[in-house]
């Protein structure tokens, strides 16, 4: 235990060693182990789990709230010590020169001054929208620099894959820097404007609705056009003769759809554009875009051909609606069988509202994905692959800033974590450029010993409470600290 005396100003004098550094508030002493936090001397290295582990002789400090971990994968500790701040000095980032104590590829020793952590990392962004953001594999840009691409879309969502080593270090320096900035901002839940080659401009912020070409998305569709027909056919039965649910993926037509057939809804003579998949289900009624149901249209009638006079009749009623209910219009056929827009009857308006109600709020979600490399694992035990195996065997729980992660099967420790579940400001960067992200390994003390852990550095949690900053952090999902 060490004391400090308050010197002039808010400086304190550390007496942890004979160097007796004067330390300014917010700064660390020459050793980078002790720092001045609001006039108090604090030890800044106890929560070491990360690369610094490797640098300072390979210690790992697993934390136990009380006795052995009970072995449950889902565990709610009262206090969870995270790796945030572990690999950096307090409070701003200043890498220490360090000794890499792991032996690599026949190299006896290493001399290093800069520190980089996750350059094999990126974010996967899920954007809840049917609006067309851009073609698959199109380049995604921030400040004009390529930082990723559009990847396979998911149900009701467009997906982006951003970052990765190719953009961080494989391109120009500016590309690397801009990529790093965008990844860090996205991971820290800040808004980032992205432009997609041949597509839209979208503002993405984890936990908030996407803003596509300046318009905030409100809802995620209830289902494709065909699914919407299936869900609402009964509610429309008897109230309207025809319903078209406009969707960039599958546009549904009530009278032709299996759901309509089961209700004996008569043919209406409607003629759809696009490619018929199965009865009442049409692909490609229009081009993708940011209009109705993720198509490029603003006038829904443009997806219709002329009604067939053999089946259609004047006065026939028709509802056209998008998959989110955001767009809707009501028509009646005139004497020439042309659809004329009319005021929507209240019970149809109600069904449109029901579609809206069944849509979920559109959000952007950001998953950080990174790989724990050999050197990181080597910092944890003297036989790194055992750590990998113990993670796969679920003996070791991996968390990132205390948030649960998904660890990919296969080799290495490649994990994904929802950034909204991590404490604010959990991510940092190094000028390399690479992201600094927290990662913790929690396991039974006995398992830790068995995999070759550094038992002499294990400390009980109680010993940390006295001299480190602790803050309550709810463990389970759903909020930001």
């Amino acid at each position: 235990m060490t004391d400090a005396t308050v010197a002039g100003g808010d400086k304190i004098r550390c007496d942890a060693c004979p160097v007796m550094c004067y330390i300014k508030p917010g700064a660390a002493g020459a050793c980078d182990r002790y720092a001045n936090h609001d006039g108090e001397l604090v030890r800044v290295d106890p929560h070491i789990v990360l690369e610094q582990t490797v640098s300072h002789g390979g210690r790992l400090v697993p934390f136990q709230a009380g006795g052995d971990w009970d072995g449950k994968i889902v565990h709610e500790p009262n206090v969870f010590v995270t790796a945030i701040g572990a690999g950096t000095t307090y409070p701003d980032y200043k890498p220490a020169p360090f000794i890499v104590s792991s032996e690599i590829d026949g190299v006896d020793m290493v001399t290093v001054v800069t520190e980089g952590i996750f350059s094999y990392c990126g974010v996967k962004v899920k954007i809840d929208t049917d609006r067309y953001l851009g073609p698959e594999t199109a380049t995604v840009r921030s400040e004009g620099e390529a930082i990723g691409h559009v990847t396979t879309s998911e149900y009701g969502s467009q997906m982006l894959s951003l970052g990765g080593v190719h953009h961080l270090t494989g391109g120009s320096k500016k590309e690397g820097r801009v990529t790093c900035d965008a990844l860090m901002d996205l991971s820290n839940c800040k808004p980032v404007e992205l432009t997609i080659d041949g597509g839209a401009t979208v503002v993405v912020q984890a936990g908030y609705p996407p803003i596509v070409n300046g318009i905030a998305e409100e809802r995620m569709r209830v289902g494709c056009g065909s699914a919407t027909i299936g869900m609402f056919a009964k509610q429309w039965h008897g109230k309207v003769d025809e319903v078209v649910v406009v969707d960039d993926h599958i546009t549904g037509v009530l009278s032709e759809h299996q759901a309509g057939k089961l209700l004996d809804i008569p043919d209406t003579g409607i003629k759809m554009k696009g490619r018929r998949s199965t009865p009442g289900r049409y692909f490609q009624v229009a081009d993708p875009g940011t209009g109705w149901g993720g198509t490029n249209i603003s006038d829904p009638l443009s997806v219709l051909g002329p009604f067939n006079p053999k089946e259609a009749r004047p006065g026939l009623t028709m509802l056209m609606v998008s998959t989110t209910g955001e767009h809707a219009a009501y028509y009646e056929l005139d004497e020439a069988l042309r659809p004329i827009e009319k005021q929507m009857p209240p019970d149809l308006k109600f069904s449109v509202e029901r579609i809206q109600e069944n849509c979920e709020p559109a959000l952007c979600t950001v998953l950080f994905m990174g790989g724990a490399g050999g050197s990181l694992r080597a910092g944890v035990t003297d036989n790194p692959v055992r750590l990998t195996r113990s993670v796969k065997d679920a003996l070791t729980r991996v968390t990132s800033g205390g948030a649960p992660v998904y660890v990919w099967p296969g080799g290495g420790i490649t994990f994904m974590v929802d950034v909204t579940q991590m404490p604010a400001g959990a991510f940092g960067y190094v000028p390399t450029p690479a992201l600094v992200a927290p990662i913790e390994f929690t396991l039974r003390l006995s398992d830790y010993a068995a995999l070759g852990g550094h038992m002499d550095h294990v400390r009980p949690l109680a010993s940390l409470r006295d001299n480190t900053e602790t803050r309550p952090m709810p463990y389970m999902p759903g909020r930001r600290a």
Partner: protein, 302 residues
Amino acid sequence: MKRLPQIALLPDGKRLHLQDGPIDLVIEAKGRDGDVRAAYDAAALRFSGLLDELCEELVELRSAADPVRCTLKGVVARRMHAAVAPFAADHFITPMAAVAGSVAEEILGSMLAAARLDRAYVNNGGDIALHLAGNEQFTVGLLDRPDRHGLMRTTVIDAADPARGIATSGRHGRSFSLGIADAVTVLARTASQADAAATIIANAVDLPGHPAIVRCPANELQPDSDLGARLVTRDVGAFGESEIDDAMRAGVGRAHQLLAAGLIEGAALRLLGEMAVVGATGIKAGAMPAFHESALERTAHV
């Protein structure tokens, strides 16, 4: 209660880790078991109290070195002074610029006095003292990216090479730099000489007055810094390609002077992805990204 340094073998059971205050040493010796043990015992014994010894003269060690006269008493302190003295006439430099290398050298010396070793190193946070006998050699990795092993350069030092010291200095390090180099690694006859020279060359890699360089008085960051109110580099913004070349040229020029004066054996300079090599360092490129390759070609005829 007497403060004791941390003394422990690393998990591999081969290397010794010593730590006291700001000093962190990783040590490895090769030889007969009994000799290695004797060497490690000697290292631990010499290390205990070494920091106190230095701190007794800390005020003078933090003052500008006199180019000729040395009033310091401790053997490590005097070695620090000797290492920086060749630069003291032309530059502000304090003996602290050679503290890491001098400590490494001292510990290695104590080990060699106690045992016969085939080879050994004392690595003090990247400033390294070497011992090589017979046909032994060391492979030293130089990297600015510890997370990407493929990017590593290596250099092989064998017993016939004069270099017995390696040091790295740069703006990301624990010590402040007056320059903008990301890293300057120097090979010299001793670790203390390498340490001082790396500081001098890293300071020379600079673009004085450039608006994209954020500088701050050292004593605003660390009140008792030996650099006093001198402006140290805090951050570096964007430079043009030619500006990076200019800064590198300044550092390379200084490295050539030191090489000609016999103060160093070689140096590798890195700035924003560019690299230049001076002297017979034997530094080989590993798998490099394209911009590093081109940088190497460009600097080959510097």
